[in-house]
């Protein structure tokens, strides 16, 4: 039995997890997720794809809000830029999809420098409103630049074909989204353990102290904005392809709030939390729908006029209750469960 956590080589320090069991379970989960698109029905598949795309976006926001502590209410703007970056490159100028994804990452990242500049002076909610302002400005710019973006009519996007693979079928596209999500997850996990990630967290915990310790605030805050925007932009491009249509209405402001809700319900500042929160928030309406189906008949009849409203009330109530009883988020539940599992029957 292991009596402690001993690092004997440098490789031990670098490795993501030194437990074979963790790798085993992760691999099993991955196998299930890779196989699932070929076995589930179309409806479940669309939910699955949505979870993958949302997880990518949530991880992107987590890098900025969770890790660096800069609240953003403007990530819908980055999603838009990513979606339009891809759509304009591929649908309008007929570049290969890979270039499209490059544009979907770089366009928001470049714009993030402009959005990030205020973060050097502003804190907390003042910054949040500035990012909100930028996302409104982005949406209006896109609507105004009609010749370039198609204005309010939007642009139609087709499923891509890359590396000789055709992603036009639904399962194949789900796998592409899964690939991007897993890649993002690994990137985020690794960033959080690197010098850059430590600098981000130092800025979140106390930026003045971080500065006196030699963290270059300007550089790292801008860096956090750019990385976050790049990842969010990729999620936006995938979202655009998934909807097969890119328009300003497709990415409403409420997405920014929902993304924050995902992070907080999952547990702020942890990549695992972002993923758990995504699963929870995306599947919650479905769970409520199934629950209503179970208690079905009688309930449905009473509420026949307002089923939709009752469902969204239930959605709000579940969020309130989840935070009331577990303010640390789902990550807290996960850690408690893990502790219980390893230490049972002892409490500690």
């Amino acid at each position: 039995m292991r009596s402690g956590d001993f690092k004997e080589t440098y490789a031990d320090l670098v490795i993501l997890s030194d437990s074979k069991l963790v790798w085993g379970w992760a691999a099993a989960l991955l196998v299930v997720l890779v196989a699932a698109p070929f076995y589930v029905n179309a409806y479940v598949l669309s939910l699955l794809t949505l979870v993958f795309i949302t997880a990518t976006g949530a991880l992107g926001l987590n890098l900025l809000t969770g890790m660096t502590g800069l609240i953003s209410l403007g990530h819908a703007g980055f999603l838009l830029l990513g979606a339009y970056g891809y759509a304009i490159a591929v649908a309008k100028y007929h570049f290969p999809p890979l270039v499209g994804f490059l544009a979907a990452g770089l366009a928001p990242a470049a714009f993030a420098i402009v959005v990030g500049l205020p973060s050097l002076r502003l804190r907390g909610l003042y910054l949040a409103i500035t990012t909100l302002a930028f996302s409104y400005i982005i949406a209006n710019l896109i609507l105004e630049a009609r010749s370039f973006t198609g204005g309010a009519r939007g642009l139609t996007v087709l499923r891509p074909e890359m590396f000789g693979l055709d992603f036009s079928s639904d399962p194949a596209f789900a796998l592409l989204c899964l690939f991007v999500a897993v890649l993002t997850l690994f990137a985020c996990l690794n960033i959080s353990r690197s010098r850059i990630g430590r600098a981000f967290m130092a800025i979140r915990d106390n930026d003045i102290a971080a500065r006196t310790m030699g963290v270059n605030l300007q550089a790292f805050k801008l860096y956090a904005f750019m990385t976050s925007a790049l990842i969010t932009g990729l999620a936006g491009a995938l979202m655009g392809i998934y909807l097969s249509f890119v328009s300003v209405e497709g990415f409403p402001f409420l997405l920014s709030i929902e993304a924050l809700a995902i992070l907080i319900v999952g547990g702020l500042g942890s990549s695992l939390g972002a993923v758990l929160g995504t699963v929870f928030i995306v599947l919650l309406p479905e769970a409520i729908r199934i629950l209503f189906g179970l208690f079905g008949g009688s309930l449905e009849k009473i509420l026949s006029t307002g089923v939709h409203e009752v469902k969204s009330i239930a959605y709000g109530v579940v969020i309130i209750l989840a935070l009331r009883f577990e303010p640390r988020g789902l990550v807290g539940v996960w850690r408690d469960a893990k502790r219980l599992w390893t230490h049972w029957p002892l409490r500690y």
Binding site: P118, I129, I264, I320, R324
Partner: protein, 290 residues
Amino acid sequence: MKLFADLLASGIAIGAIYGLIAMGFAVIYKATGLVNFAEGEMSMITAYIAWTIATTLSGNVFVVVAGSIVAAVLLGLAVERFIMRPMLGEPIFSTVLVTIGVAVVLRSLITLVWDAYPHALDVGVGKGVAHLAGVGLRSAQVAAILALLAIMTGFYLFFRYSKVGVAMRAVAADDRTALLMGVSAHRIHAIAWACSSAIAGIAGVLFALVYDLSPAMFQIGLKSFPATILGGLDAVNGSGFGGVLIGVVENLAGGYLGSGMKDVAGFLMIIIVLMVQPFGLFGEREIVRV
């Protein structure tokens, strides 16, 4: 010149409504350190209650206004007591997200209890046009401006001279010391929520008088929050002024530069102001200790 005067006047009128709701945000922020994202929804609920009173009980303007203020106060107290108070001491992010949950619930309640169609709120007055120096405004718009001025004066006096107002400032400055001095933070929070809900309710009723009721009305909350930031999150009267400023700038930009610039102009102004004054026009500079 005529166009300018008209745009200015209607800008001040809509700005007064933004300003009122922005003051509601600021009151809660000042007393509790939270942003209430359900502010727009609370103002919408009150407007719908006013409509119900007007159509079922009595169309008398005084009955409607008094009834809706009482309803708004009760709503604010209920939200504070049953939803926000149990969250005291929890992480601030989680607590703010709870208000977003409240917003979702209230928004759906509207279509569940009432319906999804637009309605005109009719209390007999408010639709008439008043002329002042050649500029025509509906009397409800004039009422909004007067209400903003009255409530701003009220808050100035409240914070300066009343015991509760001083206690609220004490809680805002340092809640732990305030507790040690015998101030009940619970009661201050409850009063703040009630005040905020009442102000937002008044704004909601005035908005409904001018622009009719609809389930999309909660968006005035989203439009007013930037006004709070512009004035300074903890500056209650400053937020009222910020609302007027945003209303005027939006209206002028919409009139002279085209409707596409309407939203952008307000936000551009906020970015520029925050670059110069990082804590808003009247907000208190936060002093950070390492």
